[in-house]
Amino acid sequence: MSYPPPLQAVVDELGRFPGVGPKSAQRIAFWLMRQPHEDVSRLALSLEDMKSKLSFCERCCNIAETGGLCPICADDRRDQTTICVVENPPDVLAVERSGAFHGTYHVLHGVLNPLEGITPDRLRIQELILRLRGPVKEVILCFNSNVEGDATAMYLSRLLQVPGLVVSQPASGLPVGGDLEFADDLTLGRAIDGRRILAD
């Protein structure tokens, strides 16, 4: 037996979400079915609103208003010669909270992970390399200290061997296997201050 097509369409769409299997997709679809119409309309509108208003920053690939720069890239008080490369948008907030960094960011939207099929071409690496044509003096590779984060840092440090460019990594002190997002501000700040150079 199959569901009425409009319901099946929702199940299929939800089933494409990361970490959502067919069972969960069905459960969420039935739940949505039971909600008041205006609640579901609000959800649909908010999704539409997000996609039409927001996109990725043309420079750093962080979330930004469509067709423009994110607030950090647009801020000319930020040091444009230093780029802190992170895995995901929440990591930008974590480094910002530490208060130890005054340059700009680059968001890769992932790290190398063969098991999940994440290869270098799925990451925003080309965009990072294009930025090196500008006045960049240092790139800080700030990933979670786990196997995938370490591999990505090693991969980039080799790729970024450009004359005059310093590539560095935060000093050890980040919790092993811990998420950057949850690292405490002081520890993260100190790790960035005491970063060590991988290549220059």
């Binding site: 190398l112 992970n113 098991l115 270098p120 196997v147 090693m154 080799r158 296997g177």
Partner: protein
């Protein structure tokens, strides 16, 4: 340190079963029809390691026609009370395991080794001498974390790198890596070599300490003075980095890494003879016992505590002399015993639990 209470729910043949073993004493499990005894020890083992010593399929641990099995343990570490819960749930494709220590997901295996180091003797224990390398590697890995729980991080790191490198090899689908892929492979190879170096280093250090103990125990159990060899055998020659490169073509087709610590072995010898192929059954049994006893003693020596001892139907496989000698060599500590044959005369259990009612 000790197991204070264990509860099983829908585990193997048990619907619901709770027992409270005595601290620092011997508890014997007995069931007339011979079923279910081992399950109790298996549950303790699962609680300590997250896996079974009998089968690799976690689904087999769940009672037939049930969906969820639970094991709850209460442990004491000095005055600290530790609750460990393991819940196994049958899924569509596979069984999921959820482990909680004091209500929280443990960050690594280290925590379990810290609170519940184990020494297990089973009739299959002789496999460590007789069979392929897997039981010997598993013995080493479990012993490493029991002796020093801090090593669990390095072991886990190596396992994760291995999984990623293997996934990368499979992604090549048998084609020679293109330039960009080669750069990625170089990174995984380097991570692999670094993690492997750490693993081999701690394994060699462990064997260095284990070797004299194995020799002493072997001599005591077998009442002989044969020369006992415990040698680490690498699965490659020369530099690991070069070996990985040489094996690449082969590994690409197989989809996994064929050289590295995950394929290494321990060569056990008696007077220079390979104990796996050229020793008598009695010699093999004595050597298997000596290895476990040596591991037990090493944990005691390094950590100043007694690992929980699980003796599963061990005496039926040993002649009376070896049984008595094993008992004399075992240090006193908390011990759980199952037996189908009469217990050796010198064993003094503090409790004998009849499982026939629990299994109705």
């Amino acid at each position: 340190m000790g197991l204070h209470e264990l509860t099983l729910r829908n585990f193997r043949l048990f619907s619901e079963f709770t027992f409270t073993p005595d601290h620092g004493a011997i508890t014997v499990f007995f069931s007339p029809n011979g079923t279910g005894k081992t399950s109790v020890l298996e549950a303790v083992f699962a609680l300590a390691t997250g896996s079974s010593f009998r089968t690799s399929a976690a689904g087999d641990l769940i009672k037939t026609s049930e969906q969820v099995a639970e094991i709850h343990g209460v442990l004491f570490q000095q005055t600290r009370r530790i609750q460990v819960d393991l819940v196994l749930t049958k899924g569509v494709r596979n069984t999921t395991k959820k482990m909680l220590v004091n209500g929280q997901r443990p960050k690594s295996r280290a925590l379990l080794s810290e609170v519940l180091p184990l020494t297990v003797f089973t009739p299959e224990g002789v496999d460590i001498v007789r069979r392929g390398p897997e039981p010997r590697r598993m013995f080493l890995t479990n012993l490493l974390t029991d002796v020093n729980p801090n090593t669990a991080d390095r072991i886990e790191k190596f396992d994760q790198v291995l999984v990623q490198r293997n996934a990368f090899l499979r992604s090549l689908q048998g084609d020679t890596p293109r330039t960009t892929q080669q750069k990625e492979l170089d990174v995984w190879d380097e991570e692999f070599c670094e993690a492997a170096t750490h693993i081999i280093e701690i394994r060699l250090q462990l064997l260095e300490k284990l070797r004299p103990l194995v020799t002493n125990y072997y001599h005591a159990i077998s009442e002989s003075s044969l020369d006992v060899g415990v040698l680490y055998e690498r699965s490659w020659q020369g530099q690991l980095r070069d070996a990985l490169r040489d094996a690449l073509h082969h590994d690409m087709f197989r989809g996994f890494s064929t050289v590295g610590p995950q394929r290494d072995d321990i060569l056990l010898t008696l007077s220079g003879r390979d104990a796996r192929r050229q020793a008598s059954q009695g010699e093999q049994r004595s050597l298997a016992l000596a290895l476990r006893l040596a591991g037990h003693e090493l944990v005691r020596h390094e950590r100043g505590l007694d690992p929980l001892l699980l003796l599963d139907d061990v005496f039926s496989e040993l002649d009376p002399q070896r049984s008595e000698r094993l008992l004399q060599l075992l240090p006193v500590g908390q011990t759980l015993v199952t037996t189908a044959s009469p217990l050796p005369s010198s064993m003094n259990p503090s409790a004998i639990i009849d499982l026939s009612e629990a299994l109705l």
